[in-house]
Amino acid sequence: MRTYIDQIRAIIWKDLVLELRTRERIAAMGAFAVLAAILFNFSIDTTSTRPEDVAAGLIWMTLVFGGLLGVGRTFYLESQDNALLGLLTSPVPKDAIYLAKTLANFALLFIVSVLVLGVFALFFGLDLGANVGGIILVLGLGSLGFVALGTLFAAISTGTTMGETLLPILVFPLLVPMVIYGVTSTGRLIAGRPFDEVEGNVRMLGAFAVAALAAGAMLFRYVVED
């Protein structure tokens, strides 16, 4: 068990150090988030819609598309110099590889989601007030569910000849529950409603994330098998 955790930690550490040195994915996701916020801002007719009414949906869309950008490249990191094979021929259980990769992606996406929230709050003039903690929790759980599915399917799409183009086709239908629960609860929290009101949604988001993680850990071995 101790080795298992240490192996997970080693892979997370490796992924984050690589990300810190290249800043490839975080820069792409961050830039995408800010630019999307700017475009969204101009895509709304403020005379007919109040920005805060649509902010929740746009935040989640930014997160989903931006996340896809970063998560899709998870395994390209490994494919330069065939390092994935090195990983697979070391005595690490496949589920540990999956969990580590997912958690490293989660760290990145969570940072991006907080950034997205900040940027939208700034551009759309949202008054988050006392609900900031709740919103961040919701975004965190959503990110976790997203990367849990995203990492698994990134491994699949990387293994196909279609590559990243396949990723959205595979994950978008599966992400519907997450988007529904996430958007409704974020929207209500932005509107200043108490956290109790969205507790059920948050639970469902959590359940979705946990189920996705469990399924991913179970099935990942069949994806990377050669």
Binding site: L152, I156, P173, P177, Y181
Partner: protein, 230 residues
């Protein structure tokens, strides 16, 4: 040869099913009475509901066979999953086209994000992904595993999708057959519906076997081309 038997059986079942379909058409046009509130458009129900049932069954079976395939690694299971998935897509397409035709008259709109319709649409897309993944790997074995994973994850996601889309107000008619206090349909409508359910199931099984025979033949062809290549 097993494949040839499968093929004959499939053809026979399909012909029985198609004859049954003619009968169902006759029943729903000439025999069953017109529903009082919705009028004649309610007759779509006799093909829509059985198609939905068949496609769900097919997708469920595909996911199950996929899981068994990953476990046992028997190619026959993968072939079964593939054939069921194809059938699921065909019947799913029936659901997704007949539903709006009915909805336009009954609800006044072709499409609504009604839970069961949404679920069918998403399942349909998940299984489109199943075929895209399958056909875009260089190593066919890899494609089989990837597709199996897609089918399983899709099946696991169904409860979540179902619960989440229910958050939208449901416009879909309440279940009329599978209810605790017995079916609420008039007897002749119920008979028509149940006959149609049986007929659709038989058609699916027949075409499934027929399709399965095709995959079996393909596997034989692969085997043969291999022995001549080396």
């Amino acid at each position: 040869m097993a494949t040839a038997g499968m093929r004959r059986g499939g053809t026979a079942l399909t012909l029985v099913g198609l004859a049954g379909l003619v009968f169902v058409y006759w029943m729903s046009f000439f025999w069953v009475s017109t529903e009082i509130n919705q009028g004649v458009v309610q007759r779509i129900f006799y093909v829509h509901v059985p198609a939905a049932w068949t496609s769900f069954m097919a997708f469920g079976f595909s996911a199950l066979a996929s899981a068994m395939y990953l476990w046992l690694r028997d190619d026959r299971l993968d072939r079964a999953a593939l054939c069921a998935a194809e059938g699921g897509l065909v019947f799913g397409t029936i659901v997704l086209t007949t539903g709006p035709l009915w909805g336009k008259i009954a609800w006044g709109t072709y499409w609504t994000w009604e839970p069961r319709l949404t679920l069918t649409l998403l399942l349909w897309f998940i299984f489109v992904g199943y075929f895209m993944v399958r056909n875009s790997t260089e190593d066919p074995e890899k494609g089989k595993r990837f597709a199996a994973v897609v089918a399983i994850i899709g099946a696991l996601d169904i409860p979540f999708i179902h619960m989440s889309v229910i958050w939208f107000r449901s416009l879909h008619p309440e279940p009329v057959v599978a209810k605790p206090d017995g079916p609420s349909l008039p007897a002749d409508m119920l008979t028509t519906l149940l006959t149609s359910l049986a007929v659709f199931t038989v058609i699916f099984l027949g075409l499934f076997l027929y399709r399965y025979a095709l995959e079996g033949l393909r596997a034989e062809a692969d085997l043969r081309s291999r022995s001549t290549a080396t």
